[in-house]
């Protein structure tokens, strides 16, 4: 819970800072905190990914882009009323939606009883792979992962299409 509160504090910092370099550093810290929260939530695989992607690769990429562009953000020109209203409406719908969600940490709720429990039951017999996350990722929902690799592929080709400097030009 302390971690979650810290996360919120960092976010406020990101909103208020105009120096983009500081924003990048703060968002790196945000990712590490997020990874810690994920460990608390037992999502070790996800935490590892978030730490390496969010704090590692993303930071490098944003820094690279900053190097190619500029570091300071101009003060906003328009008033922040409309965005405030949008955000407030969004939050209201979410609060409405999450109000009746089952309390945190209980085993007896649909999400942990239906398909999720099936994976845990069947995993060892059908896969013999102890890490259930790996077996779900690569086999039970393997097609999603193929899609995920394809997303990465698409982004890679897209970036190369946009940024590649050809010798002939």
């Amino acid at each position: 819970m302390v971690l979650l509160t810290l996360l919120a504090a960092i976010t406020v910092g990101i909103i208020r800072t105009r120096n983009l370099f500081a924003v990048v550093v703060l968002s790196g810290a945000y990712s590490f905190l997020m990874a810690s929260v994920m460990i608390v939530l037992d999502a070790v695989d996800v935490a590892m990914t978030e730490a390496s992607v969010g704090a590692g690769i993303s930071t490098v990429l944003v820094l690279g882009a900053l190097y190619l562009t500029k570091i300071h953000e101009a003060p906003p020109r328009y008033s922040a009323v409309l965005p405030m209203v949008v955000t407030a409406g969004f939050g209201a719908v979410l609060i409405y939606g999450t109000w009746d969600l089952p309390p945190f940490g209980t085993a007896v709720q649909p999400v942990n009883e239906h398909v999720g429990a099936l994976y845990l039951e069947r995993n060892m017999a059908e896969m013999d792979i102890p890490n259930a996350v790996t077996s779900v990722l690569a086999s039970y929902r393997g097609f999603d992962t193929l899609g995920e690799v394809t997303v990465i592929f698409t982004a890679g080709i897209g970036v190369m299409l946009l940024l590649k400097r050809w010798r002939t030009s």
């Binding site: 939530l41 996800v46 102890p130």
Partner: protein
């Protein structure tokens, strides 16, 4: 009152998740700097991960890696979904940054407000003023 406290305690992670999402969305909608917009988008997406992961945690459970003598595991399915979502997030970020770099080369600025006025001028005989670049995503949800 008791209800409220109970709701606060059992749903605390949801509250923070919502706060983070709102912050992320606010940055995306309100800020004109394109890189900051992308950072905000990252926060917005990352906070959604918590929405998925929170219900999957079982108090007293362990990570879903099978071992002798452990009975309760947390739910692996949300973890898998979020792994995919993280990957999608970084892919979007990379592509977005690439476009921003190209925009900076083409326009010399990465402030969306400034560019919108330039875009308007390029379309000089357009009688309609260019609409605000950000849309209002809540209109049809309300």
């Amino acid at each position: 009152m008791i209800d409220w406290f109970e709701a606060l305690a059992t749903h605390y992670n949801y509250w923070i998740t919502i706060a983070l999402m709102m912050a992320g969305l606010y940055i995306v909608v309100a800020r004109s700097n394109m890189i900051k917009t992308l950072v905000g988008l990252g926060i917005f997406q990352t906070s959604v991960y918590l929405l998925y992961l929170s219900p999957g945690k079982i108090l007293g459970g362990t990570p879903p890696i099978m071992a002798e003598g452990i009975e309760t595991y947390s739910n692996p399915l949300p973890h898998v979904l979020i792994l995919t979502a993280i990957v999608v997030g970084v892919a979007t970020l990379a592509l977005g940054l690439a476009i921003v770099v190209r925009i900076h080369e083409a326009y010399g600025t990465i402030e969306e407000d400034e560019i919108t006025t330039v875009v308007d001028r390029e379309d000089f005989s357009d009688p309609e003023p260019e609409p605000e670049p950000e849309s209002d995503p809540e209109d049809s949800a309300a």
